[in-house]
Symmetry: C2
Subunit: 466 residues, 2 copies
């Protein structure tokens, strides 16, 4: 992998072109933007045989997974296109003039949305297609009519460049203005761009540390901008007593599959699992295996954070699988609910990789106390029995205080892209709890409402005319 | 006026009670919250003869204005109540399971919203009812199901306490949990509360300096929270050549009324007015007069900022009215478009009080250049002719890049409360350009989306059941 670093003069040109593209983009119709998104999706699908091998080489992920991920990525672009065409995403509201409005005569007020302007997107390492160059942040910003400046992830530079070429060519072929999309590379370029006045919003998926540093830069600008960061999450799972009694074997199998999927490198990996009987779960687990990790940096960071957590008093290593080709072993740690109640940070330590912390509880009251100490999380799961009993009801309700998505008897890995999807949550899951980074509602991060008062039809945006 | 300062132990009790109220509030139905809002509105209306004299005494605003503002405030509460009852504000989205979903089988996903938790609201000085203790931020947070901790504005402490008593009593009488609403006083209490983990979001209306300082505290917390600040705005107005030729007299009268309304102490006061002929406008102006200002601090700050702007090279005092009882004179400054193009900060200096800067332009191209240098603004107005000509079209389009509300042939002061209303805008108008602080959409600042996956009816929130 050859790392490039976008130079300061090159970055300046990229930002100038993005700023120049903002106005023509604001004037495009949703149907026009839909045609761009379809062209991008078609182009990426057509280039699959070039892109997938590059991705395999740079991410060490298997071909089936990467082909599936690419399909997800192009599906996502087409879903936005469809919703732009149907008008579902761009709600308008009209209040006609009302001389009898109780607080005093009301003028004609009509609300629509305008794009925020150039958006800087930081790609993630763990989904080289779906959360990278043509991923959810980029596609939702383009759908909104915002030029996109894409900071490549250094984990897959060749794939990033190849994907960006496809995107840029597809956009040009459908008449999108120059500057609608550009790729930048290197940490310094990203840091400079976050602070540049021409950038009006940021999308980020990655670690809490990296995301926090960039969030601080965005919010400390002389002109602060919205920063949509999806950071760390431990995705707690509660196996209720009935869940274990009635569905124990299924829980054990599902759990082993979920923490090793993608070698545990999912932001929704279940990292903390509360169980009534840790020993029973451990003895029911199938053999676990995981593929190699994305790169050496992530492997080494996995091992460090795993070692740190396992050396915490009260925590012990409960099970280790055989090492894979890349030298990594899926690992389960265990502790007790009492230990987590005494030190809630145990349940907030994300170990990015194929590992989880089993938390054995003695009573549902202990579960409640553990959950009360939780921070924000992307997902939270209940593994219950065959019906929702009182324990399950209590736990579902508590989990809904912390999570963006609450799941029953399924596993949090695997995030479908749909209209109702919500991928977010309170800090530290994200920096913007009122938004989602997956699903069509993600477009709203990059639009701002604008009201037109008393403006005759001829002066109104098309969608607001009578 | 006796200033109180909420002590640290008292603040701690207030925050504990707010945190304890969050869970029962989350479980209330929209209809229950509607009944609270109606009880608060009824109670404030019934107390008008006590509250209005207090407000007159502390704010120096006239009785008619204050009675109108109280009516606006209670109308606003009832509007939220009505919309909660009709379900208009709490959208849900259901994606049923779909085995044929193109990216792979889709589970059942249903999205609704949950309140963020305790909200800290900083009251403003200039609307002692509508943006204060029972103002838009407090009411929209309560409508969302968030406990409210209200930081009183020191400009009207007795009124704040009297209003808070009514609110607290009305809430208690309708069964709202203790801790649903509390008043705190003093700068230190506000600063401590912004940084406290029990507070989950902040609403603020006030100066750019004060708002920025609190925004910085909120975003630099170990667990950053959303900060919805409505800060400064110069609310530019462009009088087009046709607007002056065809409606000159009306423009002059409307302008004089708008900048002196409420002694110019409106966040939507038109502070910068681009005109083709400043002399002609000046000679057409009616006599201007303004009432006393809210308090000595604001008067002195008005005079300081006015003096500073008038001493800037290229700016001169063009007209001064007679001083009012409070010693303040409505004042017009003038400069040229060329000067603003050379120094865009001229058009971004908010002078809070009865004053405005006339900017004379030589051509529409100059107007375009001035507008290109603008920052964000709450409102932007075109005073055009009797139809939307090409000049007007061009200006409307440019203004829509910067403003939350674009107005045609009316004035920006006077912000109606309705469903389509948008009161916001890019920095420095607000810290959160995708949101509004006026109108029923303001509720969305205090709600976060949550998706429920594969959860049987018995475990779902009521609004998501089949």
């Amino acid at each position: 992998m050859t790392q490039h670093h976008t130079s300061a003069p090159d970055l300046d040109r990229v930002l100038d072109r993005a700023a120049s593209a903002a106005r023509p983009l604001r004037h495009t119709s949703p149907a026009t933007r839909a045609s761009w998104l379809r062209a991008v999706a078609d182009s990426l699908d057509a280039a699959a045989d070039t892109l997938v091998p590059l991705a395999m080489d740079e991410s060490h992920l298997p071909e089936t997974r990467l082909r599936g991920e690419l399909a997800r990525t192009t599906f996502q672009g087409r879903l936005f296109a469809e919703r732009l065409e149907s008008g579902a995403l761009l709600s308008v509201h009209v209040d006609h003039a009302d001389p009898d409005w109780p607080m005093g005569p009301r003028p004609d007020i009509r609300r629509t949305h305008v794009p925020l302007g150039p958006v800087l997107v930081f790609a993630a390492s763990n989904f080289p297609f779906a959360f990278s160059v043509a991923g959810g942040d980029a596609v939702s910003a383009l759908a909104a009519g915002c030029p996109v400046v894409l900071k490549a992830h250094p984990g897959h530079p060749e794939l990033s460049r190849a994907t960006a070429s496809q995107v840029i060519e597809a956009l040009a072929s459908t008449g999108a203005p120059e500057g609608t999309f550009a790729l930048i590379e290197g940490e310094q370029a990203g840091v400079s761009a976050v602070q540049d006045r021409r950038i009006k919003a940021v999308g980020f998926t990655g670690s809490t540390t990296g995301g926090r540093a960039l969030f601080d830069l965005a919010t400390s600008r002389p002109d602060p901008i919205p920063f949509y960061g999806e950071l760390g999450s431990t995705n707690p799972v509660v196996v209720t007593p009935a869940g274990w009694a009635k569905r124990g074997a299924e829980v054990a199998t599902g759990f082993a599959a979920s923490i090793t999927l993608g070698s545990g490198q999912f932001c929704t990996k279940p990292g903390v699992v509360l169980v009534p009987d840790a020993e029973a779960l451990l003895s029911s687990l199938p053999d676990m295996s995981a593929g190699p990790m994305l790169n050496d940096r992530i492997r080494s960071s996995f091992e460090t954070s795993l070692a740190r957590l396992s050396e915490t008093p009260g925590v012990e290593v409960a099970a280790e699988a055989a090492r894979n080709d890349g030298g990594v072993r899926p690992t389960l740690l265990r502790t007790t609910a009492k230990a987590v109640i005494a030190d809630p940070s145990l349940a907030e330590t994300e170990v990015f990789g194929p590992a989880a912390l089993l938390v054995e509880y003695a009573s549902l009251d202990e579960v409640v106390e553990v959950l009360d100490g939780l921070g924000g999380t992307l997902t939270a799961t209940v593994q219950g029995g065959t019906t929702v009993d009182d324990d399950a009801l209590r736990v579902l309700d508590l989990l809904s205080e912390h999570a963006g998505r609450v799941i029953w008897n399924e596993w949090p890995t695997g995030v479908t892209v749909s209209d109702a999807q919500q991928h977010g949550g309170p800090w530290p899951a994200t920096t913007a709890p009122t938004t989602t980074s997956v699903g069509t509602a993600a477009i709203h991060r990059f639009l701002r409402p604008i009201a037109w008062q008393n403006v005759p039809s001829a002066g109104l945006p098309v969608e607001l005319r009578d």
